[in-house]
Structure formats: structure tokens, C-alpha cells
Amino acid sequence: MTFDSEYFNIGYLDSLSYKDTFVHRLDPRVKLLVSFVFILFVVSFPKYDISGLIPFFIYPVFLLTAGDIPLRVIAKKVLVVSPFALFIGIFNPLFDTNVLLTLYGISITGGWISFMSIMVKFTLTVSTALLLIAATSFLGLCEALERLKLPKVFVIQLLFLYRYLFVLLEETFRMLRARDARSFGKKGRDIKTFIRLISVLLVRTVERAERIYQAMLSRGFRGEIKVLRRHSLRFQDFLFALFSVSIFYIFRHYNIVNILGETLGRTLR
């Protein structure tokens, strides 16, 4: 993974959020809260329950398809962070060796099941978080956070982060290119040069911050920034929230997979 490709990757996730679909049009507050509730429901499952989790895939799949977001992008990002979850659960099979069920002569221990359950929960929650970002503009999320009463200082920090992330990346990009243009083979790409690059970048950032502050003062800044409100709650927002939360509730209290299996079994018999 080179720096260039990562840069365009971030820009790509950003550009996805400018689409205009049903999911993109929903009020960001609703999306944020529903996704939060979704994550709470998912993590509330006991550690041996996998089948109960499966129906929950409907929510990320819905965001993915209705939001017209390519699966590849999200899948790749989930894979990148997956080692974290992997290391949380990797020792479960060693510690928990109770055999819970036997499938075609292979005994499956509680450890393996709880490990699988961690991985499923991880996939559900992380993909939902990523899809939330891809389907809501960053500004929309900031607006939502502000209107949900997050302290304004944090929201403004996030806004500045969004504004200057791309500027900073471009600056880094230029410096790395300048380095590569004059370094041959291993020389010039060692850690010493890298540390110097980082420190130069820091100094430049501080200088830029100073200039930005002057620009703000020149336009009458006195410690107050207004966050623009673009969205308003509509009927479909309420409907979406009500509908999804009740589905999560049903999924949580009735094991849909078991019920389906039993009815299917009965009709076949």
C-alpha cells in the first residue's frame, strides 16, 4: 500500500458521500443514532450466539445497496482492520475447550464458537461504521454531532480536520515525491530522513495554523463559529428509524434463523 493509493482512497470515500440516494438523503442524526443502536444490539448478544447475529447483516447490506456503495471498498477496509479483532479472539479456542456440538463427527468447542462470534460482531459493527461515513457526508456527521449536543469545540476540531486533511496530505505527498526524486535505492529512504520530514511537516503545520488564525481574525473571528444546519427531520426519517429499530428488536428477541429452519423442516417433512 503506497502513500499515493491511500491518498486517493480517502478522497474516494469522501466522494462517495456526495451521491444522492435514499440513504444519503436521510437526516444524519437519524443515521447516526440508528447505527449506534444497531451496534449496541449486536454487541449485546451472548458469546456463543452466532445464528442470532446473522439476520443483522441486513442493515449493512441495506446501506450498501440502497446507498449505491461498492462492496469492494468497504470489504477492503474491513480486512485492513481485521487483525485487531483477530487477536482479541485468537486465544479463545485454546482456553475454552468445552465441546458444544458435534457436526459430522467433528467436535466444535465453545472457544471456536465464541471466536467466530467475535469475528461476526466485528464485521457487522465495523462495516456499519464505514458505511455510515460513506453514506453521510462528513459535514453531515459533524452537524448531527453538534445537534446531538456534543460540545462545539470538538465539532469544530472535526470540521477543521476535514478541511485540512487533504491539504496536509498533499503537502506530505509533495515532500515524499521530492525525497524520492533525489534518493536512490535504499539511501534517503531510511528512518533518519523520515524523522526529519515529519518534523518539517510539523513546523509547516504550525506556520499554516498561524496563517489560518490570522485569516480568521481578519474576518472578525471572536471565538464563535457557526455550524451550518442543512438537514431537517422529515417523515421518512422517523419511519426509517422506527422501522429499523423495531427490526433490530425482533432480531434480538427471536432467533429468526432457528424459526426459519424449523418451519422449513416442518414443511419438508
Binding site: 462528513f138 459535514l139 459533524c142 470540521l159 477543521f160 476535514y162 478541511r163 485540512y164 487533504f166 491539504v167 499554516r208 496563517r211 489560518i212 490570522q214 485569516a215 480568521m216 481574525l217 481578519s218 474576518r219 472578525g220 473571528f221 471572536r222 464563535e224 463559529i225 457557526k226 451550518l228
Partner: protein, 244 residues
């Protein structure tokens, strides 16, 4: 209208590290005048500009704008009168969208939302960028950023427009558009630039700064055609006046 006069009387400025950037600058700019400011790199152009709206305060001497002396108490008022367009549009545009950025000044002036809307629309229309209103700044071209940066200042209805290298990084067409735009403004203008053709096109008066002092001050046509004077200041004849 005497209240738009900008006057500097024997202004000195030294940076905290002891560098003396301005060594006694005096001039008077009348209402509606366009003044080009030029000089070698490091001559003190940017420092001078920063002294005009209270980003920096002179260590000695007096800056006054429309009879109001610049000091810590009048700084806010002066900032409203003097619109400052920074050299790098990325520093000027700090809000997440063009609309919010242009609205930033008017909101801080305490205008009502309707007035803010009107100011934003007018300012963006003036620079021909109304269609960019909902874009985030990182998705604009360099020329568009420059125009929007000017709009952010225009939205505050300044009396005096101060610009630091407005045409650097612009392609020839954007540069020409900028020149036409500047020509259309009736404001008092102070433009620091190395683009002498731009100064020749936009300004009737030109000041050359050398080592923190004024080396020349007079009609642009006269100064910018004085070859020896220009060469003494690391400058050369405007391209349009060079013989091939």
C-alpha cells in the same frame, strides 16, 4: 470621501528576532486609488501589508485608516474596513464549504441570516462563482479557490482591498479574469505582486520597496518603464513592454 484615506507615517517594524523589516515607510493612499506594491523578495512587502490591518503593529510610527489610528482598541473596526486577501487561498478558505466560508465574515459582523445570504450570493456573483456555493474548498481548482477567497473578503463590504500576490499559481486565463475583476472594483486597492503586467493593468500608482524603505513612488506607467530603477530592485520591465 476623506474617510477612506489610508496613511502611513514613518512606520518601523522589527520582528521579535531583531530583523528590521520596515525602516520608516510613509505614504498616503486616497479614496479609490489602486496602488501596486512591488520589490525584491524579502524587501518587506508582506510585512507592510500585515501592518495595514492589525495583524502586526508597527514598532514605531502610525498607521491610520480614514482618520482612525490603528491600535489594539480600533483593531476590530479596522479589520472590517480593510479586506485582506491572503497569498495562499488554502489559508483563507478554512470553512468546510464555500457558502460557509463566504458567510463567515458577515456572520461575525452580526448580520441576520437573510442579510448573510444576500451578502454571500452577491459576493459570489461578483467573482462569478455562484455555482460553486455548496462545494467543499478541497474540490476547487486553484483559480476557483482564488476567486472564492476574494469573495470571502468582498462579502464583508470592505472600504479598502489589500491583496498579497493575487495572481501567483494562476493559469493565464484565470489571471486575465482576475485582472478584469480587479479593474471592475471601485474600492481603494493595494496589491502586492511581482506580476508587473498585472500592476500596470490594474493600478495607476506603484510603490517599490527596497530593504524596508520606499525606493520609488509614482505613476505606474512611469515607474514600471524605468529600466534602471527596476533592475536595481531585482525587477525587470513588464513583459508586455519588453522588446524582442
Amino acid at each position: 470621501m476623506s474617510h477612506h484615506i489610508l496613511e502611513l507615517k514613518d512606520v518601523y517594524f522589527s520582528y521579535p528576532d531583531g530583523t528590521e523589516a520596515l525602516k520608516g515607510i510613509s505614504f498616503r493612499i486616497l479614496h479609490g486609488e489602486s496602488v501596486g506594491l512591488t520589490g525584491a523578495n524579502g524587501a518587506g512587502k508582506t510585512t507592510l501589508l500585515m501592518n495595514l490591518n492589525g495583524q502586526l503593529f508597527p514598532t514605531k510610527g502610525l498607521v491610520s485608516i480614514g482618520e482612525i489610528p490603528l491600535n489594539k482598541n480600533t483593531r476590530q473596526e479596522i479589520k472590517r474596513k480593510v479586506g485582506f486577501v491572503f497569498q495562499r487561498a488554502n489559508d483563507q478558505l478554512f470553512m468546510p464549504t464555500v457558502y460557509e466560508d463566504v458567510a463567515f465574515g458577515p456572520v461575525n459582523l452580526g448580520l441576520t441570516p437573510e442579510q448573510v445570504d444576500e451578502r454571500v450570493t452577491n459576493a459570489l456573483e461578483t467573482v462569478g462563482c455562484l455555482h460553486l456555493i455548496h462545494r467543499p474548498p478541497h474540490r476547487l481548482s486553484e483559480g476557483q479557490k482564488n476567486a472564492v477567497a476574494i469573495a470571502t473578503v468582498m462579502a464583508m463590504n470592505p472600504d479598502i482591498l489589500v491583496m498579497d500576490e493575487p495572481a501567483s499559481n494562476l493559469d493565464p486565463k484565470s489571471r486575465r479574469q482576475l485582472i478584469n475583476l480587479l479593474k471592475g472594483f471601485a474600492h481603494t486597492k493595494i496589491i502586492a505582486s511581482h506580476d508587473l503586467d498585472l500592476i500596470l493593468d490594474v493600478c495607476e500608482r506603484c510603490i517599490i520597496i527596497k530593504d524596508g524603505r520606499i525606493a520609488a513612488d509614482g505613476p505606474a506607467e512611469e515607474i514600471l518603464l524605468n529600466k534602471t530603477l527596476l533592475e536595481e530592485n531585482n525587477l525587470e520591465l513588464p513583459l508586455s513592454r519588453q522588446k524582442r
